[in-house]
């Protein structure tokens, strides 16, 4: 190993090392004084301190004093996981007027003192700190990449999440293009009636948002529209929006229902109709700073014969049932649907959710929905309660695997359902309820092995079977392909991190709102939409965006212009300069490092995460 390294200014690396006790979390198992002593003679190290809490003000001041005295130009803090305090220490360094990227973090709590004990834990801490020092010595000062940003957001999807995001963005003074594929706003929510946990009419929620959209001059609504072109990067995307007259049968049918209605009105089970259906194709290209995905979900369609669906007109989905209830006469003792009295209803949970290989049937692509759709339990119980409240002569039999009324004020639905004499049966997926036709008093019979009565087989005649179908990821393959979006194994769009960056995708400037990401109820969709709007406003508010500087950089002295990196880059972020050197567009680069591995002359590297630094860390791990 080289004994010392110089940074770009020609200064030799002088590393300050700070080891945290974490109030005993670390020092109870790691002899931190011994670690500080052991690393102080490593070449390049000029100070080696310990402190009870490095993240405290006195701890941070320790670093700042050494910087201000001119003692150090690199910092290593050995403490908890970097996700907790890497930003804290970079901030402290920055406030002492040192470049915050001349910093490396050693994780000696989660990955040492909490999993190892005694001398081996101390020995490992020494190794981890030595490795961090070897990386720190090679670090170069970096600047965030600053790019001008258009104060404009494109929201894809005019459902409840898209509407919520558009309204919030516009109120922040950001112009919004709200792009909706259908002629209507409101999305899946328009297909509902009353919604949990408040029991409000969904029409009221949609009208509240659509009237705000209609009034706001910052929002331009594009219905019957799709994104057909996409290029650029955060702050400077170029999107092409194409509008065309809807051709599919279902949409034609819905348009018939609103024929003659005034534009700007809400129609139950159709949506908010802004009017303005294009007669001919129209196309427009916009510059937009951020793109918010609010493309929503698709409802699971039961297979032919699944719980008798498609074979019996008395077997319907929960969504069809909600619609039928809205059309039913309101003042009868017993619910009437299609002129037939409904004396007893079987409601079956988890249809098309929590599917298990070997038990459930995969779709034509060999795919199954193994996740919980989260919203159906409460929605089912809400529908059950509406029946019991309004039609006391109609009985409800509820067949469930588990009841997941998990959200705020939702458990009440379960307890109220019991009070209202909804009768529960619990089934195992391998013993799912079986629906058969009968010629007796009821048209259908439900047979189930009931876990609540210790596997007793229970038969019941019913007039109607309601299937609580789950949510599926919507097919947005063309957008995924065009924008190269990350998709999870469940086919929903994927965030960078479920907790720390929950509405961001790895592609800078592309955000997530609502059920395009995962099954969510309306509350959660609006939460996500508001988070995405706030994130977009924060990204665009300054008029420029600062990008993570951890992107690839070409070393022109080494680059031989063979173009391997250009061919490898999935983001098309690398091009060739006229003098035959590769050049990275930092705004497009995601810093994945694919280019680094294919360069035979090490002429390209990811800044801050350089291959050479990794090699140095391995050397330190071997040596210490």
């Amino acid at each position: 190993m080289s004994e010392t390294k110089k940074d770009e200014s020609g200064e030799e690396a002088r590393v300050g090392v700070y080891i945290c006790h974490c109030g005993g979390n670390i020092s109870d198992h790691v002899d931190v004084e011994k670690v500080a002593e052991a690393v102080k003679d490593i070449p390049g190290v000029v100070v080696s301190h310990t402190d009870m809490f490095m993240c405290s003000d006195p701890g941070q001041e320790l670093i700042q004093e050494d910087i201000n005295k001119g003692n150090i130009n690199r910092v290593v803090v050995a403490s908890c996981a970097p996700s907790l305090h890497e930003t804290t220490f970079r901030g402290a360094i920055s406030r002492a007027n040192m470049n915050p990227y001349l910093y490396e973090h050693a994780n000696i709590r989660e990955q040492d003192s909490w999993v190892h004990h005694g001398d081996p834990a101390t020995a490992k801490a020494i190794t981890l700190v030595a490795a961090a020092i070897s990386k720190a010595r090679g670090l170069k000062p970096l600047e965030p990449i600053r790019v001008d940003a258009a104060s404009h957001t494109t929201v894809i999807g005019g459902g409840i999440a898209g509407l919520r995001a558009a309204v919030d963005l516009a109120r922040n003074g950001i112009k919004v293009a709200l792009v909706e594929k259908s002629p209507f706003l409101g999305g899946n929510a328009s297909q509902l009636d009353r919604v949990f946990p408040t029991g409000e009419k969904v029409a009221d929620l949609i009208e509240y948002l659509t009237s705000a959209v209609a009034k706001d001059p910052n929002i331009t609504v594009y219905t019957c529209a799709e994104l057909t072109g996409f290029e650029g990067y955060i702050g400077n995307f170029k999107v092409t929006i194409k509008r065309k007259a809807p051709e599919d049968e279902a949409t034609q049918l819905m348009l018939k229902q609103v024929k003659g209605a005034a534009p700007g009105s809400f129609h139950p089970f159709v949506g908010f109709y802004p009017g303005d259906v294009p007669a001919a194709d129209e196309e427009e290209t916009l510059t937009t700073g951020v793109i918010v995905f609010a493309t929503g979900f698709e409802l699971y369609e039961p297979r032919q014969g699944e719980f008798g669906y498609g074979e019996n007109r008395e077997v319907i989905t929960l969504r069809q049932f909600i619609r039928a209830m809205a059309d039913a006469p309101a003042t009868t003792e017993t619910l009437t649907i299609d002129g037939r009295p409904v004396r007893r209803i079987a409601m079956i949970h988890c249809v098309g959710s929590r599917q298990i290989p070997g038990i459930h049937e995969a779709d034509e692509n060999d795919y199954m929905n193994e996740y919980c759709s989260r919203t159906c339990c409460t929605a089912t119980l809400q529908a059950a309660l509406e029946v019991r409240d309004n039609y006391p002569g109609t009985q409800i039999l509820d067949y469930y695997r588990d009841i997941r009324t998990y959200g705020h004020n939702q458990e009440e639905y379960y307890s109220r359902a019991s009070e209202k004499n909804v009768l529960f049966f619990r089934y195992e997926p391998e013993d799912s309820p079986v629906i058969t036709k009968t010629t007796g008093e009821y048209p259908l019979k439900v047979t189930v092995v009931d876990k609540l009565t210790f596997n007793e087989e229970v038969e019941a005649g019913v007039d109607l079977v309601v299937l609580a179908t789950g949510m599926k990821a919507k097919n947005i393959d063309s957008l995924v392909e065009m924008m190269k979006l990350p998709v999870g194994a469940d086919k929903f769009l994927q965030e960078v991190h479920p907790k720390l960056r929950p509405v961001e995708m790895a592609n800078g400037g592309i955000l997530l709102a609502g059920t395009c990401q995962a099954p969510m109820d309306i509350n959660e969709s609006c939460n996500a939409a508001q988070a995405a709007a706030a994130k977009a406003a924060a990204l665009l508010g300054k008029g420029f965006v600062e990008l993570d500087p951890f992107v690839a950089l070409v070393d022109p002295d080494r680059c031989e212009g063979n173009g391997d990196c250009i061919a490898e880059c999935p983001e098309n972020a690398i091009s060739m300069t006229p003098d035959n050197k590769a050049e990275v567009n930092p705004a497009l680069c995601t810093g994945c490092g694919m280019c680094v591995a294919v360069c035979s002359v090490n002429g390209i590297d990811v800044q801050g995460w350089g291959l050479k630094e990794y090699e140095n860390m391995v050397d330190a791990i071997v040596k210490f």
């Binding site: 020995a123 190269k484 490092g593």
Partner: protein
């Protein structure tokens, strides 16, 4: 200052969005595992060329576990390029008569505590059984791609 044990060392390349927080989750659960494991935080393991792995073995690293995000990789195309690269490394390992099990590719999520512990313990048992890595010869040692 150095570890006084002669046990082999295991290098773990852990992705910052999945496996690295996964290892932290094991820490939060205070689940113990062998100390001879050294985790490097990586954005995507696709950054490492074939020779990086061979150099690690040459330097004396006994086992390498790449803990990636698997199919959940947030970088477009990176996982498949990486899987292909690991195949190339296996070819190079074969040439050097290195036991292929010394390099392990696995997907570890942010809460995959049990799989993490299993991978680490399995590798530790393996390197105990195999001993230090020995590459074929000096002339082969300079034959990096």
């Amino acid at each position: 200052m150095a570890n006084d044990t002669q046990e082999g060392k295991i290098l773990i390349l852990a992705t910052e969005s999945c496996a690295y927080p996964g290892a932290n989750s094991v820490g939060q659960a205070h689940s113990s595992y062998p100390t001879n494991t050294y985790i490097l935080r990586v954005r995507a393991p696709v950054l490492f060329p074939e020779h990086f792995y061979m150099d690690c073995f040459r330097k004396g690293i006994s086992g390498i576990i790449v803990m990636s995000c698997g199919e959940e990789c947030p970088y477009e195309g990176a996982y498949h390029a990486f899987a292909k690269r690991i195949d190339n490394v296996f070819q190079l390992m074969k040439k050097e008569d290195l036991d292929l099990r010394r390099l392990r590719l696995t997907a570890i999520c942010t809460v995959c505590n049990r799989p993490f512990l299993k991978e680490v313990n399995d590798m530790n048992n393996l390197i105990k059984e195999l001993g230090p890595p020995i590459l074929k010869g000096e002339e082969a040692a300079t034959d990096t791609p």
